[in-house]
């Protein structure tokens, strides 16, 4: 007999993985799907098509405003993975004459790292920078790695596992001084911290809707329109998006992204302050556990992501013991031996510590009571599992 019972309370603390679609966003999307709504192909020249096109362009302006870009810089994609691939492969291929060197960071998202590996197999040379213990890259590392044949420097704005904010503007200035382009994965930043593409000096910026209460399956690569900023398309077909990304535009998804981006930016000041208070509370409670270490201090990170490692605790057991919480761990537990996060490994954490790491990410639905509950449960779980373990 299965005598398991679901916990009475369940708290979602995995907003860095994805967010629920905002009801207003869902409503706007619903208006673009059925026969009563604006459902026509936005590339069509007839009236219904033009109506769809108008909504697409409104959304384009909304997303552009969210990152301080121009509307015609926005290229719709299926999400951030495609955006990162398009940027890296597109820039490297379009600038073959300049060179074949790419610089990125070991703690980037797999969408960047795997694209970089693909480019290596395609004949490119990639320099992988190793950040400091808090995840930050020293701009001096970039300066030292830049070469005359460097085409792109790819660095994320906010790390998805530990929340570190990279000094993108300083890095971009160095890269531009050597004639290199700068690509920024801003997926974890949009709606969570101000994103100003111009101030950052980014030539391209990857963003995704589902991280900011929009739908899954839609993202954008925002590409600065300037001399020398040229991409080679990776998807060919109908020539949509100025030939940079062919394919029928999904009006409902795009409208959802636009609405989500606009609302996220409107709420950003209040939400950021509220989440920062919750993070401080959580950091105080968890930081007080002996053997706990905060992987990125608040001063260098975004408020909504808190990564904490615990000595003397088995990672999979810890997550299992926290069945009331939806949180991410620092390992992929498909076997008895945990496979620790490559991000935490790159920061110098040993395998056991990396595996016993929780990424707690907060969002609009997170209350103070949720954080208190989570902290109490984590403190109890760490204590129980340590008591269960043999003396080290």
């Amino acid at each position: 007999m299965d005598h398991r019972t679901e916990p009475e309370r369940f708290v979602y603390l995995d907003y860095a993985a994805t967010t629920p679609v905002d009801p207003e966003v869902a409503q706007a999307m619903c208006g673009c799907m059925t026969a009563e709504g604006v459902w026509a192909n936005p590339a069509s020249t007839h009236g219904p098509g033009r109506a769809a096109r108008e909504l697409v362009e409104t959304a384009r302006a909304q997303v552009a405003r969210a990152v301080n870009a121009q509307p015609d810089w926005v290229v719709w994609t299926s999400g951030a993975t495609e955006s990162n691939n398009l940027a890296l492969k597109g820039f490297m291929r379009a600038h073959r004459k300049r060179g074949k060197h790419l610089i990125t960071v070991k703690t980037e998202h797999k969408a960047v790292l795997d694209a970089a590996k693909w480019l290596e197999r395609d004949g490119c040379e990639v320099t992988y920078l190793v950040p400091g213990a808090d995840g930050r890259v020293d701009p001096a590392q970039v300066a030292a790695a830049l070469r005359d044949d460097t085409v792109v420097v790819a660095v994320m704005l906010v790390n998805n596992e530990i929340g570190t904010v990279q000094p993108v503007a300083e890095i971009a200035a160095l890269a531009h001084a050597r004639g290199a382009l700068v690509h920024v994965d801003a997926v974890q930043a949009l709606g969570k911290t101000p994103v100003d593409m111009v101030a950052l000096g980014a030539d391209s910026l990857a963003v995704s809707a589902h991280k900011c209460y929009g739908p899954k399956g839609i993202g954008a690569l925002v590409v600065r329109r300037a001399p020398g900023v040229v991409l080679e398309a990776q998807v060919h077909g109908g020539g949509q998006e100025r030939g940079m990304r062919s394919g029928t535009l999904p009006t409902h998804q795009i409208v959802g992204f636009g609405a989500a981006a606009e609302k996220a930016i409107a709420l950003l000041p209040t939400e950021r302050a509220r989440i920062a208070e919750l993070r401080a509370l959580l950091e105080t409670r968890l930081g007080a556990i002996p053997g706990a270490s905060i992987n990125c201090p608040a001063a260098h990170g975004v408020p909504h992501i808190l990564s904490v490692s615990f000595e003397g605790v088995h990672g999979e057991a810890l997550v299992a013991d926290l069945a009331e919480l939806a949180i991410s761990t620092g390992s992929a537990c498909s076997a008895a031996t945990p496979e620790p996060s490559y991000v935490l490994r790159a920061l110098g954490r040993d395998d056991l510590t990396a595996a016993a790491t929780l990424r707690i990410s907060m969002g609009r639905g997170t209350s103070r009571d949720d954080v208190e509950f989570a902290a109490t449960r984590i403190v109890a779980a760490v204590a129980r599992l340590r008591a269960l373990a043999p003396a080290a």
């Binding site: 005598h3 398991r4 299992a320 498909s334 008895a336 056991l352 373990a389 043999p390």
Partner: protein
């Protein structure tokens, strides 16, 4: 779906409330299996009275399967003749808990711990 859904019911129950968890009693024979640095470790102990195992317990650093397997093993050990444990085979316990094949290190840790405790009796 919560985390518990990824484990068999008995594994979950024993992980959350292991009946035999605890530090070795005075005079207990203690054996170890696995190594923390390698991802898991089981410390298993038992006391003997009248030639039979009277009490058994464990401590574990490992996944829920490791904790549950050690707990079930302790339950099974009570009443056994410790002399018959030098070639202890945990296959039946693993099958009883539906421990998946990729978790085979748990079986090795458990067998090593039981056999070491049995050898400790002889020492």
């Amino acid at each position: 779906m919560s985390a518990m859904a990824q484990y068999p019911a008995e594994v979950w129950a024993r992980f959350r409330s292991p009946a035999h968890a605890g530090a070795p009693l005075a005079g207990a024979r203690v054996g170890h299996g696995g190594e923390r640095k390698q991802g898991g470790e089981i410390e298993l102990w038992f006391t003997v009275a009248g030639g039979r195992i009277a009490r058994a317990g464990f401590r574990a650093f490992g996944c829920p399967y490791a904790v549950a397997s050690a707990d079930l093993c302790c339950q099974w050990l009570i009443g056994q003749d410790p002399g018959g444990l030098l070639e202890f085979d945990a296959s039946a316990l693993m099958e009883g808990l539906a421990v998946p094949p990729e978790r085979f290190p748990v079986k090795i840790w458990l067998e090593d711990a039981v056999r070491a405790a049995a050898r400790a009796e002889e020492a």
